[in-house]
Assembly symmetry: none
Homo-oligomer: 292 residues x 2
DNA sequence: GATTTAATGTTGCTTTTTTACATTTTGCCT
DNA sequence: AGGCAAAATGTAAAAAAGCAACATTAAATC
């Protein structure tokens, strides 16, 4: 049961439950903060029911007891978001909420990955990238495939030979042609994407070095030589795109920057050439980052 | 006090507190899930202290009592579980410089776009998206094409008909088949990308509505009906990938979230289906964001 | 080493939750 | 409608959890 399911169930009970259940559900939904802290005696009084009814109600909602129920309500409050705003908000309030939700999600996603990323690992990965003859980046799913493409985008500028594969079949095929000079980046938020796990295994058999950017407890992490932790926090807002994308972008930036510094000034020559190559497209503003 | 402060305080007590406090803090930190549900008698036993010590400890942590303490722990767990609040790693100077450069770049990029983005415009854009029969997203170049793909990725989940084109030729072709029911998103950091400007002009000729996500002083901004400012600040760090990508992601998130809320609950059904469709791929963890 | 202060433990009391059982209500059948 | 079973709800007492007051021990200070 996901945390927010408890609110859904409350909604259902508020509509379909028996008399006492309806009243209770309404009271609770009308003030979750209160309900999560008040003793059941208070709650029972407010709803005009007896105390055991509250206990039973919690059980029928799928909780172990009142304590467990309150525990879940506390989590709902922490997660907040959509469920706590049953009525449409006035425009300004809503706007502020949207902006805040996105900004805070992004900021905390970055903060977290910043705290847990071990630069020794990143440095090691950068060295692997510099030494590799061919770099493959595998990623599937919305977030991870975006990351794979972005990784390719960042690394090719450094003069590295890199190819991103977001298709499962292509990943396996690419893995099959890996050798000792290959480096594989495997990106997956879950760490359970089958095609990626298998591709890593295959590539490794052929002597490739492998770096997973994934949940460190996952199968993928176990399969790869090195793991950079990439954890997507459960989302606080149903309608909001996951902030985990910012984390992934951050990790990619770390790798790209470290690798660039490792390669040194010759990188700059490559970047300069890219800029020149774009100048024919009316995009030659020299202050602009390379490649729009 | 933010929710996660409780973890920080526990850390401090684990290091600086008295003997009993240290033991208690360690026990709690070692298993927050357990600590948030166990009665204090259990906790006291494990830590080898007396029950009132636990109560006192909770108070000294700034909680009203044990219940309040457990309440806060539950919220910590909801937000991300222990592993999301690791102690920040200590890094040597060189490593810290890289991490800080990337983090500060990202944070300030988000901050800047947050400040300048007008939610009235975003709301208007969301309405256009909801009303549109077909949405086209055009973007060229590293950052903008990534943004285009990401925009497609975010919007198709909402049940919208959306197609991203990152190839100049394809953009023009797509623009040529636009009509009054079309909505075009044109993404370009420079606002000078010829194929995009022309595509917008063509699409508009055929009656499409057009939204530019670009530099507001650019030709592209002038060409489009609506402009969401997207400005890439010149980078101070040559080796660092531009932080402007975070800005773009932010704008996309704002649009996606606003549109989702505008569409309303029927969106959730779509997200649910996407999740179900992934469950065959061993990725059915319900707590995970939709689509890896 | 005595004395004060802070920290921790012991005991028993209060609050909160739960169990077991009694009562009421509801739905259904004749 | 009236009666009966089943479900829902209430009552009261027991169990569990948390807490306060005081006792004791450890530590710091002189």
């Amino acid at each position: 049961m996901t945390t927010t399911d408890i609110v859904n169930r409350l909604r259902i009970w508020a509509a379909d439950g028996s008399k006492a259940e309806r009243r209770l559900a309404e009271i609770i939904l009308s003030d979750i903060e209160y309900a999560s802290r008040a003793p059941i005696a208070d709650l029972a009084l407010r709803a005009g029911v007896s105390e055991p009814t509250v206990t039973r109600f919690c059980r029928s909602l799928g909780c172990e007891g009142v304590r467990d129920f309150k525990f879940k309500l506390a989590q709902v409050l922490a997660i907040g978001g959509l469920y706590l705003f049953p009525e449409p908000l006035v425009r300004d309030e809503r706007d502020a909420r949207v902006v805040d939700a996105v900004a805070e999600g992004a900021a905390s996603a970055i903060q977290r990955v910043r705290d847990i990323t071990d630069m020794d690992t990143v440095n090691a990965v950068a060295e692997m990238a510099v030494e590799a003859g061919q770099i493959c980046v595998f990623g599937s799913g919305g977030v991870s495939s975006l990351g794979a493409v972005e990784m390719q985008n960042r690394l090719f500028r450094l003069g590295l030979s890199v190819v991103a594969q977001t298709d499962g079949q292509m990943q396996r095929m690419q893995a099959a042609v890996c050798d000792k000079k290959s480096l594989v980046f495997a990106i997956s938020a879950s760490g359970q994407a089958t095609s990626i796990i298998e591709s890593v295994r295959v590539a490794r058999q052929y002597g490739a070095r492998t770096v997973a950017i994934t949940n460190p407890d996952s199968d993928l992490a176990k399969e790869a030589e090195v793991c950079l932790p990439f954890i997507i926090a459960p989302d606080t807002q149903l309608y909001k795109p996951t902030a985990g994308r910012y984390s992934l972008l951050f990790i990619i930036d770390l790798i790209a920057m470290t690798t660039a510094e490792l390669i040194g000034p010759s990188v700059l020559e490559g970047l300069r050439r890219i800029r020149i190559s774009l100048s024919g497209l009316n995009m030659s503003d020299p202050g602009r980052p390379v490649g729009d």
